[in-house]
Amino acid sequence: MTALTPVLPDAPQGGTPGKGSTTAARKSQRFSNGKRGLEPWLYLAPAFIVLIALLGYPIFQLINVSLYDYRQAQVSGKAPLNFVGLGNYQKLFADPQFWTVLGNTVVFATACVVFTLLVGSSLAVLATRLRPWVRSMLFVVSLGAWATPAVTGSAVWLFLFDPTLGLVNKTLVSIGLTQFQGYSWTYDKWSAFGLVASEVVWCSFPFVLVTVYAGIQAIPTEVIEAARIDGASMPRIARSIMLPMLRPIVIVVTIQSIIWNFKIFSQIYIMTNGGGIAGQNLVLNVYGYQQAFAASLYGLGSALGVIMTALLMVITLVYLRILKRTGEAL
């Protein structure tokens, strides 16, 4: 049991910074030493069982499959199953396309995360200053964007940006920018990525908006008033009072955004027709789909899946680590 107790302090996801988590850790230490050692585990058992069934087993099979030469012929029993160890990973790492795709993914996802957070937070701050009915309008409109399924949203954006019939090009041409006559937004690699990123930001900023807005509302007005009485300017209040108090929320929103945006599939798949001209807009998830399902290279596709999972875990952990080092405990 002792080997496992260090896991426990993280279990109570306390939003209270500072003392809260250390007391929890001390408490659990006491429990595990006493005769109630098994009890917390009993309470956690249902959650663990569900997690293992829904998460543990698929990840196990993902890793497992990635170690084999596993194609359709092997699945249906026509060809012998070969254990290739890290062969699939070697193949990927030796393929320059993999590195290009990885680079694309990092740049694209980072841009999406940054812009989603910027747009969402700015609108959240704006929302606190709007009149109630304007605010309601803002929320209704952005929730509409949020509620739109990725596939539908992508298709609508494609219509809007259609080279000849799209509203955007027509408008641009009508105000005199004739170079947009028949301009294809998906022809150039970065213009295509930009278009998809805009759609992604459009459909994911409402989550940031709502969450951060709720966070701002939860800041006790007394604290802000006290700061104001002490003579703090508005920027100063934002920097020294509001931001630190919003920290837990910003962290959650950022991690969510990172995970979502690294996993983007539908938008790229639909808007760039499966990865763009000569595969210029492939990101890891679409690349993985292309290899695993379209090309039936399940082993190779699984290796990509494992890399993707590992990458996301590393990014998340590093991010948490940096935050822990620069500030107080979460």
Partner: protein, 430 residues
């Protein structure tokens, strides 16, 4: 204690990894061959489904009358989700049909999955089989065995606007070079029109250029395919096609992303003077606003009077390996793919028959299919018949090559070398 425990955990994990191989299913051929019961059939659903259903129904009635105790259960499956359907059927033979319609480019990967039964003997003992178009029958052959019966073919030819050519006093192109010059001349006179709408992703429009120039996608050497895209002839073909996707004919900005369908849509919408379209597109063109202003000729070859080899697309009927009613299934395939029913399918759906004699007779009676039948008669070609082709196709190796050239990301030599290398990697992974 701690150390021992984690060592044990690692050992167990390692054991679990090596001992539990990923799941595989047993897809061995069924040993039983029952003469009664239900034969399940999968056919593709069509946009215009009724005429197809009517012909199939007729065949089912005829079959059931001739086979006592046998029933045919036809299901129409969507073409778009066929990959999932077929894979699921191969993985779980109990949910598999006995007979299925499938695209001929999918055949090799289905055979590699062990899903299709060898029907060589059935074809040999079938009296109508001698009239099957040999080039088309070849597309069903792997290592000397046939795994399907060609049901209908689809070939592409050159559609052009008669009015536009006439206005400029241009002759109908007789060589591939003339296609280019005519297209350029039309766009020069009508800057709003594409000279010929072709696409960077329209692989079957690009193939005639490759083959007419003497190039090949790949040839079989020993038991393996080797890509020939980097040969001088292939490069010439790739370059010739890529010249069409230039600003003075079909600008890459617009056309690089077009697939075959999109390029035909441009023609239908009256936005292009020519296109390479299939016999299956004819109805849509004939129903459009330009219906009185177009004609079709075979895609010309290098020299005047020759015809560029076309890609022999089409669908087969095959028997599933797991079928418990193999004889009944093969009999139904032979009935539905017979001359009689191919003729009926042509009459109702316009599907081009796979028998040379039936092709001739339909061409004589139907002027509009003549260019397509002539194209078939001139000899068609096909993609490499190997399971790896579906991988190459899914990775976009072939179309990616053209797109790289037309977007200026690579020159012809680099792009063809890259594509050849990628293909050889895929061919080698057998």
């Amino acid at each position: 204690m701690k150390l021992a425990r984690s060592a044990a955990a690692i050992a167990i994990a390692a054991l679990a990894l090596t001992a539990c191989a990923p799941p595989t299913s047993n897809n061995a051929a069924s040993s039983s061959d029952e003469q009664t019961g239900t034969v399940r059939v999968w056919l593709f659903s069509e946009v215009n489904q009724d005429p197809k259903s009517a012909v199939v129904k007729e065949a089912v009635t005829e079959f059931e009358a001739a086979h006592n105790g046998a029933k045919i259960d036809v299901q129409y499956i969507p073409v778009d989700s066929r990959a999932e359907r077929f894979k699921a059927a191969f993985n779980d033979p109990s949910s598999a049909p006995d007979v299925a319609e499938f695209g001929n480019t999918d055949l090799a990967s289905y055979v590699a999955s062990g899903g299709l039964a060898d029907v060589t003997e059935d074809i040999k003992s079938w009296d109508e089989a001698k009239d099957l178009d040999q080039k088309i029958l070849d597309t069903t052959e792997i290592d000397g065995k046939n795994y399907g019966v060609p049901w209908f073919v689809g070939v592409r030819a050159l559609y052009y606007r008669t009015d536009l050519l006439q206005q400029l006093g241009l002759q109908v192109p007789k060589t591939l070079d003339e296609v280019e010059t005519v297209a350029r001349a039309i766009r020069a006179a009508n800057p709003d029109l594409l000279g010929i709408s072709v696409g960077g992703a329209a692989q079957f429009s690009a193939m005639p250029y490759l083959w007419a120039n003497g190039g090949e996608i790949a040839t079989k050497e020993g038991d393996k395919f080797v890509s020939k895209l980097d040969s001088a002839e292939s490069r010439e073909g790739v370059a010739a096609y890529a010249r069409l996707l230039k600003d003075d004919i079909c600008p890459a900005q617009t056309c690089a992303e077009f697939g075959g369908n999109a390029s035909v849509q441009q023609f239908i919408a009256g936005k292009s003077a020519m296109t390479i379209g299939g016999d299956f597109n004819y109805k849509a063109v004939a129903a459009s606003a330009i219906k009185d202003k177009f004609a079709v000729v075979p895609v010309p070859g290098k020299t005047a009077g020759s015809i560029a080899p076309a890609f022999a697309g089409g669908n087969n009927l095959g028997v599933f390996n797991s079928s418990e009613r193999r004889t009944l299934a093969a009999d139904f395939v032979k009935l539905l793919a017979s001359k009689k029913y191919q003729q009926k399918m042509f009459d109702s759906m316009g599907n081009l028959p796979t028998f040379s004699d039936v092709q001739k007779s339909v061409a004589e009676n139907n002027k509009q299919v003549e260019p397509f039948i002539n194209t078939l008669g001139a000899g068609t070609k096909f993609v490499p018949v190997t399971e790896n082709w579906s991988t190459i196709d899914a990775q976009g190796v072939f179309t990616g090559m053209y797109q790289k050239v037309v977007t200026g990301k690579a020159d012809v030599n680099t792009a063809t070398t890259e594509a050849a290398t990628a293909m050889n990697t895929a061919f080698g992974s057998k």
